[in-house]
Symmetry: C2
Subunit: 488 residues, 2 copies
């Protein structure tokens, strides 16, 4: 080996040498369909002729991108925090100013530009704790158990990181629902943990069946050490809202089976169906008495990205940990300190989300109006989506009780399945790709979320504006009928 | 096993069961000294009597927290982007408005609240590419090689993640300087990779010695597979600025030894010493001709957290990859998509950092004035720090050529070392803890960054305002003399 040049140099980082866990990661929400959609948009811009004039994206829960308007008060506070000279400006309401002032006082040097403590600004964690207490009817919440995060994604991955250990047969297993939000499978793949799939019950509105949990767990015990159970409620991609009874059963199951509970509750304000109500795992756990509330380990997650605010770009979020081993908590705090801190503008936004205008404040009426309008529109769109899709022969759709998605079952003719397989595509990918090419509608195939073998689905958000959503639904209807004719 | 309660439940997540790699992570910059500093601040507030009235923190490169003012133009643009109603406001300069307008047009739904593409907003990546081209005297930069990130920390960890594989003797080894910025050791511990330490040459202004690289590499080859070489330039915690010659030598070494280069250049604008200049690895690589520029794999990192802007809280940053295997690039893009996207306000901030006011624009003069004042003050403080510390018998300090830190060598009397060891503390931790308790000055012990055995250091930032910095330096001087007397 000489140091004169590098004629014989080979690439260091190739598919053969790279981290094999990364290869196993999949993330369909931004997969090939979306890449093709972006390409088609470029083609349209360049004047290429298509049977449609725009691509409508119903693939990702990205509210503002779909035209949802931000809450005025939140943005006023963020502008004031970003450029505090505006605190002198009479155009801003006093409550926005006092919120901004309070946030800035809690920032290093009075600036959003300072790093915060790694766990998140203490005052904001206190505000989060009070928000949780109000939400849960007074059950106590300790700000020391709150960790602010870079969106919920960050906190979820951090918690999984702590939980995962072992090799071979003693690898950690983590139970996740199928269909699931693919962050979970991706994180488990990256960490080299075992994914334990439990299937939601499509015939019962995607409810969670304890017998199915038990089945999945027993089977998994043969080849890994199950240690955690993840639940998404309200559900993504399935839109169900779990009953209080079901949550109790899940907690009892986790208690008996010694599982760490991870409750993804980022859609906690997105509940539309009559008779449905959001129940936090924390609240139910504490209502079950000290036998549970003092023992079962729980991490629950929330985010600024969903609900009525839909502020995805700010990457705000938090996790609450309950019954976490104090020594492990020290480790968690150390771990998050390596990345320094979550984005401070996202922390500021979270603060106003958990501490919005009060009835005696000038911004209250506007805030309530904006929030209720957004939630009412979402409820209306949830209903419309399910109604129209269920009119299509060959499409079967559960009620969209909550969250922002529907995950209808689609009947595909055997000839279509065959053609897909010949192309090496999953049949629902084949279907969605055709829908995109022919109608300009961008959805995500069910295979990206997981589904029972031999069934096919797609995930669609209810987020496009009402008039566009109608078009999307009409086009899907048209397409599905044509597709069915074509392949039968 | 029954499902009636959980009397026999044990904690799932304990020190025994948690991910053992996390246990190995260390992160001194926010370690026990800082925790004690926060405690002391609380005690002061509660009226506890101390030999000082405030804790001065010189432990972390957090500019705004230390009183550095944000650049007005940047904050105006951020306020406009957060609350676009302000675009109608005549108080904002036209150039700030046009930047904000342009950024919003590149955001989904015209809102900072939409997720961006995972690699970062395309227009901003184009602006970054043009910035790099200007910086590097016209050497081409492809926006497709730019990945926006959540601070530089995020991109550094992501790149390491891809690079790490193997078990036992075939584990990946990554070369890092000692002293180092502890993000590197922490990330390698978390990933289960082997840290290969090469020592910077303290006697030569912390320069990088190729013979030392060679020594470290040869030794490491016995027990791991070395695959990457990390360099921090300008250096943290050591404040050195590498010469062009040295960078060339490093590139040649990486070429011959088949190492992937990671260049941490977050302090690229922080160069103070006469005769020193920042040379980007990218530029030097390309000036060495196609034999190198077409072969050596390089990832370089930048951030909005340092330089003259010091906007740490926004968590903005980017990485440029050069000669990355196209298939690996697809994997990288997939990997970053799991976390959805970097914070959009941080992306917006990065955009104005790489595309600041131009000479014909209204905000130009103020921008230049603010920038030069900040950099001039930093240069002055760099000089002052080194001069005063070198006057203290028993403290030896290299010139602070760049970055924001000094890492002086401190002579500790054998009796102090003994007492520290009896307490189970590293001697420099013992020293820094005493300094904190007696003088209220918060520094980080050298052991948190690594140092040659038997030598002791501390890291101190040059960020406190000039008058406070003088106090800090005077107190250190006093303390060191007293400490030396006490223990000899
Ligand atoms: C169920 C669920 N969890 C977590 C997330 C992550 O959201 P964020 O990281 O933006 O908070 C999402 C985003 O769609 C989600 O649907
Ligand atoms: C050398 C070096 N690299 C990376 C970082 C990370 O900075 P950030 O994640 O805020 O961009 C720092 C922060 O101090 C640093 O000193």
């Amino acid at each position: 080996m000489t140091e004169n040049g590098c004629e014989h140099r080979e690439r260091v980082l190739t598919m053969d040498t790279m981290n094999p866990n990364i290869k196993r990661v999949e993330y369909a929400v931004r997969g090939p369909i979306v890449q093709r959609a972006v390409q088609i948009e470029r083609e349209l811009k360049m004047g290429v002729n298509k049977p449609f004039t725009e691509v409508i994206k119903a693939n990702i829960g990205d509210c503002h991108a779909m035209g949802q308007k931000p809450i005025t008060f939140f943005r006023q506070v963020l502008a004031l925090c970003s450029y505090p000279d505006l605190l002198e400006d009479s155009k801003f309401p006093e409550d926005a100013k006092s919120r901004a002032h309070r946030i800035l006082q809690a920032c290093g040097g009075g600036s959003l530009g300072a790093y915060s403590t790694s766990q998140g600004i203490e005052m904001i964690r206190q505000d989060v704790a009070r928000y949780i207490e109000r939400r849960d009817g007074g059950i106590a919440c300790d700000p020391d158990n709150i960790y602010l995060s870079t969106g919920a994604s960050d906190a979820i991955v951090t918690m999984l990181k702590l939980l995962v250990s072992g090799e071979g047969m003693s690898r950690t297993g983590v139970m996740i629902s199928i269909p699931q939000y693919p962050l979970y499978s991706a994180a488990l793949a990256e960490l080299g943990a075992v994914q334990i799939s439990y299937y939601l019950d499509e015939d019962n509105c995607w409810s969670l069946d304890i017998n199915e949990l038990r089945r999945a767990l027993q089977e998994a015990k043969k080849h890994c050490i199950p240690r955690a159970l993840c639940i998404i409620n309200p559900g993504n991609p399935t839109g169900q809202v779990q009953s209080r009874q079901c949550i109790e059963d899940v907690i009892r199951f986790a208690a008996t089976e010694n599982l760490f509970l991870m409750a993804d509750e980022v859609y906690q304000d997105n509940v539309y169906a009559e008779g449905c109500k959001f129940h936090s795992f924390k609240k139910v756990l504490f209502e079950m008495g000290p036998e549970y509330s003092e023992k079962v380990e729980l991490a629950s997650f929330h985010s600024t990205s969903k609900c009525y605010m839909g502020e995805c770009g700010f990457r705000g979020g938090y996790m609450e940990v309950v019954n976490l081993d104090p020594e492990v908590k020290v480790q968690l705090t150390k771990l998050v300190s390596v990345r320094l801190c979550p984005p401070v503008p996202g922390q500021a936004l979270l603060d106003v989300v958990v501490n919005p205008p009060q009835p005696d404040e000038p911004s209250y009426d506007t805030f309530i109006k904006e929030r209720s309008e957004t939630l009412a529109t979402l409820a209306e769109k949830a209903n419309m989506t399910q109604e129209i899709l269920n009119q299509v022969p060959g499409i079967k759709c559960n009620p969209v009780q909550g969250a922002m998605y529907t995950f209808p079952c689609i009947h595909l003719p055997p000839k279509a399945i065959l053609e897909a397989k010949e192309k090496g595509q999953s049949p629902d990918m084949f279907y969605c790709m055709k829908l995109l090419e022919e109608k300009g509608i961008c959805l995500v195939p069910g295979s990206g979320f997981g589904q029972r073998d031999g069934t096919y689905h797609f995930r669609m958000t209810i987020l496009p504006p009402k008039e566009k959503l109608k078009i999307v639904l009409a086009k899907i209807k048209e397409f599905h009928q044509h597709f069915t004719d074509q392949y039968s």
